[in-house]
């Protein structure tokens, strides 16, 4: 294999920023249509009422919050890869760190949209903000939803800043090699980066600091999200394992999403030598690990339900596996805990197709995990008379489609306009390995 040089890295990465072709714009246009469709569905829902979605009594939370948790989960591994693995000096993270971070920022943005979509009266959402007001009312800090507001906004702020900080030296490289308007834009974006050793000194310290700051957030954000459920009384929600269970699940889904994104990226942009099979294999190994944690959590839930001998808990988990949502439950178990075990075999870890297919399965499985937890618990809780079923409607489908389109729309814009691999870190990496 040809040796990677600094110049090679620069050209490979900067080549991706060349003027995109018709195909690219067609895809962008299609995705934009999807976004508009989603927005239209939301507008319709605001106008008509949340009833256009499929929720009811007892299932007051549906796909909106499923998607919220799903996207927050996706948002996880970005920071995990860029911060925790950075602190742990796991070299294989470097080629994918930028893509993963970007994924994080966009996923948090999209996740943040869903609680708005979910609200009955979204136009009054500012009631949740602790702003001084005439009503002299503060939000209820006892409510996990307020924890959420704080946690998600903190996470979004830190991960965006972290992402941007990492981009600054790369912006400077682009600035140096471009002309015209583009040069002007990147001059502003690169914040006067000149590559002096003093700047590098501050930069590396700052980056380390951010990594340190972001690390607890990786744990806290999804723990907080899990408390939305664990602080409730509902059987199936009210358990102490929820925080680690959710964090592991989030990393599981996030890593899978990284694979789903990086494999086509690598193919299209010819990143084979930067994002090597070794990198993908490392992700796959981590997925096995998180998959086992998640599987352990599934088992623990069932065990504790039985061990408690609480008939309501027991019925709740019996129903999960064999009730109306049994297909969803088994999709969840198989996709999240069984299929990733294939990565134990080297053949599956190193074949790009398998990596991609399995990562998609994990994504699907993780979406259904949230479905099972959110819908399956309340649909069958304390009072049998109030039991009910929930099926999403077309409007919810439209909004979900819109959200996915928005994510890929943003991501595609990113890959053609900003460096999707961190040139700085790659150079640092080969420097260190030499």
């Amino acid at each position: 294999m040809q040796e990677l040089t600094f110049e090679k890295i620069n050209t490979t990465v900067l080549d991706t920023l060349s003027r995109p072709g018709k195909r690219y714009w067609t895809v962008i246009a299609l995705l934009f249509c999807g976004v508009v469709l989603g927005a239209a569905c939301w507008a319709y829902q605001i106008f008509e009422g949340v009833g256009v979605a499929g929720m009811n009594t007892p299932v007051h939370w549906g796909t909106y919050l499923i998607n919220f948790v799903f996207w927050v989960g996706i948002a996880h591994s970005g920071t995990l890869i860029s911060a925790i693995l950075f602190l742990m000096r796991a070299g294989w993270r470097n080629p994918i760190a930028r893509a993963a971070e970007t994924m994080t920022v966009f996923a948090v943005c999209i996740a943040g949209l869903f609680p708005f979509i979910h609200l009955g009266r979204v136009w009054l959402v500012f009631y949740m903000l602790p702003v001084p007001n005439q009503r002299t009312l503060w939000p209820n800090f006892q409510s996990p939803l307020i924890f959420d507001v704080v946690a998600i906004s903190t996470y979004l702020t830190v991960s965006s800043l972290f992402w941007y900080t990492g981009l600054v030296p790369d912006f400077a490289i682009i600035r140096d090699r471009s002309v015209g308007v583009r040069k002007k834009i990147f001059r502003v974006l690169s914040l006067g980066w000149s590559g002096k050793s003093g700047q590098w000194l501050h930069y590396t310290r700052g980056y380390l600091l951010f990594a340190g700051l972001a690390t607890p957030l990786v744990i806290s954000v999804h723990s907080v999200v899990s408390w939305d459920f664990a602080l409730g009384v509902t059987p199936g929600w009210h358990t102490t394992i929820f925080a680690p269970y959710f964090v592991a699940g989030a990393i599981h889904s996030g890593l899978a999403m990284v694979l789903t994104l990086c494999i086509p990226l690598r193919k299209i942009f010819g990143y084979e030598r930067i994002i090597t099979v070794h990198v993908l294999e490392s992700i796959a190994k981590t997925i096995v690990f998180t998959g086992l944690i998640v599987g352990f959590a599934y088992g623990t839930e069932v065990f504790i339900a039985w061990y408690s001998q609480n008939i309501i808990e027991m019925e709740s988990f019996r129903w999960r596996a064999f009730g109306a949502y049994a297909p969803e439950y088994w999709i969840m178990v198989i996709c999240n805990s069984v299929i990733p075990l294939l990565f134990l075999f080297r053949k599956f870890r190193t074949k790009i197709v398998w990596l991609f297919v399995i990562s998609v399965f994990v994504n699907i499985g993780m979406w259904f995990e949230r479905f099972v937890i959110i819908v399956g618990s309340v649909a069958h809780d304390f009072l049998p008379n109030a039991w009910g079923h929930y099926r999403p409607t077309l409007v919810e489908g439209g909004i979900m489609l819109g959200a996915f389109c928005l994510f890929f729309f943003l991501f595609l814009l990113f890959v053609k306009h900003l460096p999707s691999v961190s040139m700085t870190e790659m150079k640092e990496h080969i420097q260190h390995t030499e």
């Binding site: 929720m55 009594t57 979910h118 209820n140 939803l145 009072l383």
Partner: protein, 985 residues
Amino acid sequence: MDRRTFLKTASLSSIAFAWGCGTDSDRKIFSRVTASDDSVTGEALWYAATCMECPAGCGIIAKNREGRVVKLEGNPRHPVNRGKLCIRGQAALQGVYDPDRLTAPLLKTNGTFKEISFTKALEILKQKAQTPSERGRDRIRMLTGLTGKPLSDMFTETLAGFGSDRAAVFEPFSYDSLKAAHQAVFKKRMLPSFHMENADFLLNFGADFLETWLSPVEYAGKFKSMHAVREGGKGLYIHAGPFMSLTAANADKFLPVRAGTEYIAAWGILHRLLDNKSYNHLPESFARDLKTAASGYTPSFVEENTGLSQSAQEMLTEKLLAARNPLVLGSASTTPDDTAFLLDTAAALINWILDENLSLYDFENRHAVENTMSTGETAQFFRKAGTDPLDLFLIYNSNPLYSIAYIDPVERLFQNDAVFKVCFSSFMDETARNSDLVFPVRLPLETWDLYESKTGISSILQPAMGKLTHAPAIGDVFLELQGEDSRFDSYRDYLLEHLYAGAGIKSQKDLLGAIQRGGVFEQDGIEAKKTEQVKPVFDKKLSAVLKKAAKACKPRESKGIRFLAVPSLRHFDGRGANKSWLSEIPDPVTSIAWESVLMVHPATLEEYGFEPGDLLEIDAGGRAIRAPVYDYPGVVQDLIVMQTGLGHTDYGRYAREFGENPLTLLKAGAGKGEFTSYLISPDRVRKTGKAGKQPGTDGSRSQHNRKIALSMKGDRAQDHAHAEKPGLDMERFPLTLPYEAGYDEKRDVYPPHEHDGYRWGMIVDLDRCVGCSACAAACYAENNLAVVGKEQIIKGREMAWLRIERYRDRNFDERLIFLPMMCQHCENAPCESVCPVYAPHHSKEGLNNQIYNRCIGTRFCAQNCPYKVRRFNWFEGEWPKPLNLQLNPDVTARTKGVMEKCSFCIQRIKQAHNRAKNENRQIRDGEISPACVQTCPTGALVFGNFLDPKSAVSRLARSSRAYQVLGYLNTKPAVIYLKKVVHDV
């Protein structure tokens, strides 16, 4: 800009500006700017009146706010219902504001209806009445629902003026067999009322006295004074019949009896009674005849033909003999066929054999419905109307094309173009649609009238609000028909004269008192002295009946599946089907709203290969209906049971196309006997291949062994033996009172709430609750609950703040138990802690307030509520005009996107606070009645202050039956339930 453009722009913009200043009349808060003399803006006026939703004639008081009636409540002074109302009584209010109510007369010309003015309509009517009277006698006929005496006198006088006979009085449920049985035994075609409250054992062969039978509110109250737990135990009630109606579900024991063979069971009991004991008060010859008649009804014969086991027969006989005051009731409002007559005769005879004095019969206060025609007479009336020369046919307060369309001549009459048919109806129902002139008249809540609910009770109707339409009162229409020579200016004058003449009113003061009280009735109620001793009379006719009974003692052939139409608690005979609350509130037995289902035993379903939810088609007598199947083990095998009242082809938006009308199938049995056969053998029952989700509101019928709706067996000692040491699990968790007393530092993290003088709470006595759903209807009326309709209920989006949960009893699997579930106003409310914006809020008086303005609709509170009593406004509520005028001005109508739930009727609590403050005192115990508590016919709900140790709620909370639903969650609900007590027989 030149001068012209400037002027143009300026004038256009000022016009545009002025345009926007127009007022929107809908936004007026008060309907009256200047209050009338007797009203104060913001304060309610109450008018006493009478409910006309069924012939029972309960007294009501109508709450008028700023000129509109907004709520009906039972008249506490009225001897029939004593302040209580049933579900239909509560919903009667919606009739006035029905969006499909006709506002002008409609004349049919060339097959289509055209609106005309009332003057024109009256002219046509006069002219149409004049011509036939010139041609000869009896060329005008009139059919009317049951009315008071003054109105029927008015009809008679007017019709006599045109040379025609009196109006025929018709009610779809006319209790023919009961009347005929009393005719046979007591020689008078009458419907005495029963002192059920004095009975200690009640044996019922079908009478649905908690739903529609004679006077349901009255009997619900009387039944519970006999059957509720009190000092010295509770009475025993056993129901033997083909179908576990709501009434039967409230029995201690339900004994299935094959449909149409109830009479065999009754005669079998009679047989055993005569065998077991000799009765001295029976005349010898009669005793002999009776014994002969009953001789064939041997225990084995009865067992074979009815399915009632010999041991059950023996048990019933023993209980009857052992009881001090046994009472036997006969058939339901809908009779199987002619055999119902034998059943009711047997019931009357058993009652008399066991009690010489018939002390539980009240022959003085007889039910008004005894004055109606029998089905035979009705058929005869229509037959004669078809054959005799007839020019004009008048219909008032009756919908024969819906309720007795199975009688052939009815349809023929309406097809006869030579007869001019006038329907005095405010709705375009089936009969109105087929009439030539539809003449809307005022509804009972807008009219002066009198109604004799019972023979001793004159109940007054008065307009409780101003007119919504220009329709005249029916009495005034007839007065107008009488022409110039009438002595009266209006029907009201006519009525007053009647009152002065007959009803014991002597002065203006008496009159005023009667109007204020709601009628002329003895202050102390129905317990009138017995002046006339009614006794069975033995004559040839009675011996003929006995012979008939002996002859009927033969096996009843029952091949294949049969079909039984039963009266509906909610829709009765269908007259109120367009009142949306009645359809929105689910039937308590099936928990199904907006739909009439076929109730079939699961074993029968399996036998015929049907699945629950399958749409079946039933053909009988050339008619077919299609309805979904509901599996219900409370029906005997090989029987399909369906409730009446739905399936209108016309009438209005809430009635049309919902459910099916089982009465159309009765053609098969019509005309065969003296009485309507509500039990028929359908020609064919087949699957249509379609199936669908039913608008049911229940998730599961089983309690899954959870501590929800509890019962205990009759002997209390056994219960004490089972009393366990308190623990922390579901069954043993102690009762935790929802205030400081319930605080336990070992269990509670947070300190208790502080309360400011009051801690409101409720006791729900499951032993008294019969599941009648009147509370739910009262809640809809009081709290402006939105009606969401069938589709949304299928999606699980009903808005009921209070629902009747129906479960299988954990102690007796075949029994049903009903549990009213509303916001529990928990002390540790799970909803309060999770709301990010403090929309649920714990008040100083322990109420869990929902602040609609704060709510942003995260729905976390509802997710976290273990009782699932919170309701979310998925859409904007709709009140098609003028239904919006019914909205209670004291309660906000919620907007889309907010959560709502039971508030314990906080508006009533606030009013009590104002009163108490003005009078400088504490609120008294019992002063506040939330709407549900106020209307409960059996007194199952009690509201009050837990901080007052002497209050009724505090006293009842100390009962050994007290428990909290899912109390182990330590939410400390302020609704404390009392276990149902069931005799284990």
